[in-house]
Amino acid sequence: MQSLDKTQTRLEGGVSMKTAMPWIVSAVMLVLMPFIFQSNSAITIMNQMAITIVFALSYNMLLGQGGMLSFGHAVYMGVGGFVCVHVMNWDIFGSIPLPLLPLLGGIFGMILASLVGYFSTRKAGTVFAMISLGVGELIAACSVIIVVFFGGEEGVSGDRTYGMPFFGVEFLSQIEVYYLTAGWLLISALLMYLFSRTPIGRMANAVRDNPERAEFLGYSSRWVRYNSFVAAGFFAGIAGGLFAINYEILTEENLNLTTSGSILLVTFLGGVGVFFGPVVGAIVFTLLQTVLSLETEIWSLYVGALFVATVMFFPSGLAGVMQMHIVPIKLGKWRLLVMPYIVTLVPAIVCILGLSGLIEVLFHARHAAIGETEMTLFWVTFQHTEIWPWVVFALMAALGFWLARKNAPQLMEAWHKANTPDGADT
């Protein structure tokens, strides 16, 4: 018992400069971002990003910290959002300050989660995944049946500006909404982080890793899961409220499997093992989505391929890959890695570009309107009927692949060296 107390005091060990620093930096970043990226579209993207971050962090409370794979997490965000939009349409909205609205969404997300969690958290793993899928599909299908609440096919829309002015701010412009969203992002991220530090958050990890042992310690693994589930529902509801404020409309799309699946994708891409993983995932995914969808029609093919590759080769996600570099940096040996990285990754990127070039040309040749043979790729305009683009891309892919493969052992060796402390490798 004594050792347990000890670890707890160590965990709760107060606020030090080191633990507070990331939060202060992110707060300052959030305040400064609109001054760096001033265009309207940039602010729209940042709003979207912030909402995705809250949602992804709440999803990771289940997947990463609790070991529960959910295929229906969009439902809690959606229901929270729908409640908020309905409140926007009521007369009472005039006496509620808008910044408090997401809290309401959170409460309703939490209520729904506490109902569903009652029977779905009995088991983790496959059963939980299946129930979450069933409940998700059920509620998504209900959205066309219960028209009073979900608004049928066209959804429910509202107007955020009818709310009570908040210190004179009426949230007419995107930038005001950005600061509201950013504020909620910071609060909820901090709360979720603190939750993961509480004994119940720690127990969630224990139950994820070994439910049997946790039961022997006297904890009901079901209730531990239930608590995480309800908390995740709350933060998903907050994300829903933010969504309602930002877009002022919610539809069936906010509830269905596509949304639930894409948040799984975002979270896993970022990395489920680290707290800030989903943040990285949300930022990268939103950027990928905006940039790629402008450039190519088949961007979701690339995202799908990236996702499968992540699961197969980097199951710890982007944040995990970043974390892998802490040891070489601490050992002061990261310089060993620079050259091998360049000679391996540059050909690999060339190979991927060549492959995607081939895919694009093939797609254009198959699906473009008849007679339209001209296409622009990588700032070069050419006809897909010509032979040289095919040859160039094929050569790029083959050469890049060959070089990357040739240099990979060098990278492996350097990686091994950089991760071994001096003296250990004699």
């Binding site: 997947l63 070991g67 794979l69 295929f71 029977f119 009995r122 088991k123 793993g125 496959t126 059963v127 995944a129 299946m130 129930i131 899928l133 069933g134 409940v135 599909e137 059920l138 299908a141 209900c142 049946i145 219960i146 028209v147 009073v148 499997l257 699946g261 799984l264 994708l265 896993f268 088949i298 979701s300 093919l301 799908g304 391929a305 996702f307 499968v308 699961v311 197969m312 199951p315 895919i359 797609f363 198959r366 699906h367």
Partner: protein, 318 residues
């Protein structure tokens, strides 16, 4: 009475189709403990492959060639994808198959486009086989019933009467022992995965022309297949059959008979609010059974999981 018979046949077709998909899925699950989220994607691949072959060689060659092709793709996925992810545990496996489902859908869109493709039933099976009073039963439905029944008879024979079936059954329960006896268990796993996906491919080949072949077809059927094997009990072939038939008949009958909530509520003594669309209970009053037919399986699954978490015939805890 006649209408009931017609609906029974319709439900049987849906149920057998569902069973063909869920049989492979539940077999794969009981062997490797992984739920293959991409199973319905192989069903879609079956339909698309068969369409592509049928444009050159006709429908029958498509039926013959497409399922083995799907099986080969499935076996390759097991060998080079799933086996690699297996070391990380069950949840990453599930996530992998989910990503695979996304990827296959995108690939299908990439190759065949976003629109429905004109995959037709063969001329010889057009028209009615027989009629029950005034209702015609299409010949193609009869063909579907007999083909799926034939496949199950074959599957049952292989699983219970042949040496290969014995090894598979043994590998299901005691993989280590079977391996110690000198059998190549990873190869058996790969084979079962291939056969399971090939079965899904057959379902795709015969369902493609009637349920229409488009990139979303895997998505439409995918979650229902899961529901089927969860209701039947994970890993139980018999349970999958019962659950598939229940779901087939349930949805068919709910769609065929327009049971209205209004009638039920009135007979219970409630009075209908006028005008109904202003009432807060409008959705409840206007509810009809065809409307909720598609969510009945999900409802059933949740009820089953709450009251009998093992499913109808499941023996083991999942």
């Amino acid at each position: 009475m006649d209408l009931i018979l017609v609906n029974l046949i319709d439900g049987l077709v849906t149920g057998l189709l569902l069973f063909m998909l869920s049989a492979g899925l539940t077999l794969i699950f009981s062997m490797m403990g992984v739920l293959n989220f991409a199973h319905a994607s192989f069903y879609m691949l079956g339909a698309y492959f068969a369409y592509q072959i049928s444009t050159y060689l006709g429908f029958w060659m498509g039926l013959l060639i497409a399922p083995p092709l799907v099986g080969i793709v499935g076996a390759a996925v097991e060998r080079y994808g799933l086996r690699r992810v297996h070391q990380y545990g069950h949840v990453p496996e599930l996530i992998f198959t989910f990503g695979l489902a996304l990827l296959i859908e995108e690939l299908v869109k990439f190759i065949w486009g976003n629109d429905q493709i004109p995959y037709q039933i063969p001329e010889i099976l057009e028209g009615a086989a027989f009629s029950i009073s005034s209702y015609d039963i299409p010949a193609y439905k009869v063909f579907m019933i007999f083909l799926s029944l034939g496949i199950f008879a074959g599957l049952l024979f292989v699983m219970t009467r042949t040496r290969v079936g014995m090894i598979i059954q043994a590998a299901l329960s005691y993989p280590r022992t079977v391996e110690a006896l000198g059998h190549n268990v990873p190869l058996v796993f790969m084979g079962v995965f291939g056969v399971g996906t090939a079965l899904a491919g057959v379902a795709g080949v015969i369902a493609g022309p009637v349920l229409s072949t488009f990139p979303g077809m895997a998505f439409v059927l995918g979650s229902i297949v899961f529901v089927t094997i969860v209701i039947g009990g994970l890993g139980s072939l018999g349970g999958a059959l019962v659950a598939a038939l229940i779901i087939g008949w349930l949805t068919t009958f709910a769609k065929a008979y327009n049971i209205r909530m209004e009638d039920i509520l009135t007979s219970l003594g409630f009075t209908k609010p006028e005008p109904v669309w202003d009432s807060a209970w409008a959705d409840l009053w206007t509810l009809t059974s065809p409307q909720i037919a598609d969510i009945l399986p999900y409802l059933l699954m949740i009820l089953i999981l709450v009251f009998r978490p093992y499913g109808l015939f499941g023996k083991r805890d999942v």
